[in-house]
């Protein structure tokens, strides 16, 4: 696949690195020579040019591209890039647009009018992910699947956990009435896709898939319950911080949300916009302020300042003060294993969120969606089962599914189910598969 990325910033660079590693042909255009120089470390072609010049876009190869990604820092530039690229014949255009005006159903001008097929908004993805984590306080990770009908949650098993020492087949007995599946286990630095004979161990980080309404029951089985949340503290009124505050305030619960922001104007404008939010003008990296503002009574601590190191350190402090849940935002893709190594509940990665969104549009064929799980070497793929494909031939137990893969969900006519060995996939079903990164190529042909 030929992909032209406009903008050699963080998103462009990370996406370029990821796609070139997967052997796609990648060209990155930017007018900043220094930024391009950095891109030469990864296996991509670089073109120095102006994003809003049709001529330069032609020079970068937009007319022959399969996909154009407009990933500059400016909405306006990305819009122009999208318009021009569509005119130049690019079949698919993805643009990073921060202004959410265009996604409203009643918007007078829609994204498609500007030649944009898919809009991505990394900050919004991160904010949503963090809010999901707040709502699912017992989990370390939450990923929504099948338009929200299913969820995958990450759980860390401590010694007291009732399922430690048990075989998977004992844990997931059909008689219990709760249907779920443990699709991945992160243990001692390795990710494994377990079978029924594997035993769970203390310190395992497990990933469980179930229908969304059953997740609460799954947590109970694992000895965890979603504890009631009252106090939430957010450090940093950054784009992400403000979005989290908005989402939390819009939720009809009696959460007390406090946000600490060092810049007076930002703090004031947030305070006047969100009346349910308590905004404090102060330094979020001042431990004394965190204490005097009640970090010890906080149920969820969310560190989303621009300074990643401070986010981590303040989350550690929160953990030491026995705050039940601490979430840090980091933004370098290498930091992904953080939530595992740090013992934090979650570290949410801004750039991974963006790349995930873009990535799913790059894979061809029957793959509908792709998401990566933070810190483990497994991916969630969503396929559409084609007529006559290998996967529809027999019940799952009789199909020789490649090692390192597990079917975690079947969605038929909008209804999602966690499959058993007797379940059979039918033509047209959407199928959710978890697999180790190396096994993706092996499972894809099963779907036609």
């Amino acid at each position: 696949m030929k992909v032209i990325i406009i903008g050699a910033g963080d998103v462009g660079y990370d996406l370029g690195a990821m796609l070139s590693e997967e052997k796609h042909e990648v060209v990155i255009l930017d007018r900043d020579r220094e930024a391009l120089k950095k891109c030469r470390e990864i296996d991509v072609l670089t073109v120095e040019g102006n994003a809003t010049s049709a001529q330069d876009l032609v020079r970068a190869g937009v007319p022959e591209a399969d996909l154009v990604v407009a990933a500059t820092n400016l909405d306006e530039v990305n819009m122009v890039v999208s318009l021009l690229s569509k005119r130049l014949g690019a079949p698919k255009v993805i643009a990073r647009i921060r202004n959410d005006e265009f996604s409203h159903p009643s918007a007078p001008v829609k994204a498609a009018d500007m030649g944009i097929d898919v809009m991505i908004h990394p900050e919004q993805s991160v904010a949503r992910e963090i809010v999901q984590l707040v709502k699912r306080a017992a989990a370390t990770d939450v990923v929504s699947l099948a338009d929200g009908a299913m969820q995958i949650v990450g759980l860390r098993l401590d010694k007291q956990c009732p399922i430690v020492g048990k075989k998977l087949s004992e844990v997931t007995t059909p008689g219990s009435g709760v249907v779920f599946r443990i699709v991945a286990v992160y243990r001692g630095g390795f990710t494994l896709i377990p079978t029924g004979n594997d035993r769970l161990q203390a310190n395992d980080h497990i990933f469980v898939v179930a229908r969304t309404e059953a997740i609460g029951e799954v947590l109970k089985l694992a000895g965890r319950t979603d504890r009631p949340i009252r106090n939430i503290m957010i450090t940093g009124g950054t784009t992400v911080g403000a979005m989290i505050a908005r989402l939390l305030c819009a939720d009809a619960t009696d959460w007390k949300v406090k946000l600490i922001e060092p810049d007076y104007d930002t703090a004031e404008s947030l305070a006047s916009e969100l009346r349910d939010l308590l905004v404090l003008h102060g330094n979020p990296t001042d431990p004394n302020l965190l204490v005097s503002e009640g970090i010890t009574e906080t149920d969820v601590f969310i560190a989303v300042t621009e300074d990643e190191e401070s986010n981590i350190i303040s989350c550690l402090m929160a953990k030491h003060l026995r705050v039940p849940k601490a979430v840090a935002m980091v933004s370098k893709s290498d930091y992904i294993p953080l939530s595992q190594t740090i013992g934090l509940d979650a570290a949410v990665n801004k750039k991974l969120a963006a790349s995930n969104e873009i990535h799913r549009h790059v894979r061809k064929g029957s793959v509908l969606a792709v998401a990566a799980l933070h810190g483990i070497k497994a991916e969630i793929l969503e396929f559409r089962a084609k007529a006559g494909s290998k996967i529809v031939k027999a019940p799952l137990a009789r199909i020789d599914i490649p090692k390192g893969c597990v079917v975690g969900g079947i969605i038929r006519n909008g209804h999602a189910e966690v499959p058993t060995g007797e379940s059979a996939v039918m033509e047209g079903d959407r199928v959710i598969v978890f697999c180790l990164t190396g096994a993706i190529e092996k499972i894809t042909p099963y779907f036609g």
């Binding site: 390795f190 965190l290 204490v291 300074d307 550690l316 030491h320 370098k332 953080l338 190594t341």
Partner: protein
Amino acid sequence: MRISDRLRVTSVFHDLQVSSKEDAIRFLAGEIAKAEPGMEADRILRAVMERERIMSTGVGKGLAIPHGKVNGLNDSHVAFARLREPIEYGSIDGQPVNLVFMLVGPESQGSAHIRMLSRISRLMNNESFRSELLSCTSCESIVSRFQAEEQLLG
């Protein structure tokens, strides 16, 4: 990436006597500088103190993790000290500090730095491990305790 692989008997101090936060950091910066020819201890001190100014790394329970990225450094270094007398550190829980783990790394290796920082954090987050460290009577036993503890992390 193992922390204990970087921890040498020569960079561990089991009974360090210092009177202040800056003293402790200056001492460990000096010891780390010895491992890199041509590196000035002062530069390490400044980078670490700058980080402390942004946010105190006294994370609570008597532990501090001073750290910094230092221009001109070739490799990451760690040093650990158990203090004879606890010192005031500006910690979040107001408690004095008696365990100091310092990490410095090259400016250019930001993500490795964060990863090591998080690994140290995870190691030190274990209460029983911290109390074991407090009862160690030699640098050798501290190093081997770290090795054993990190083995459990995988």
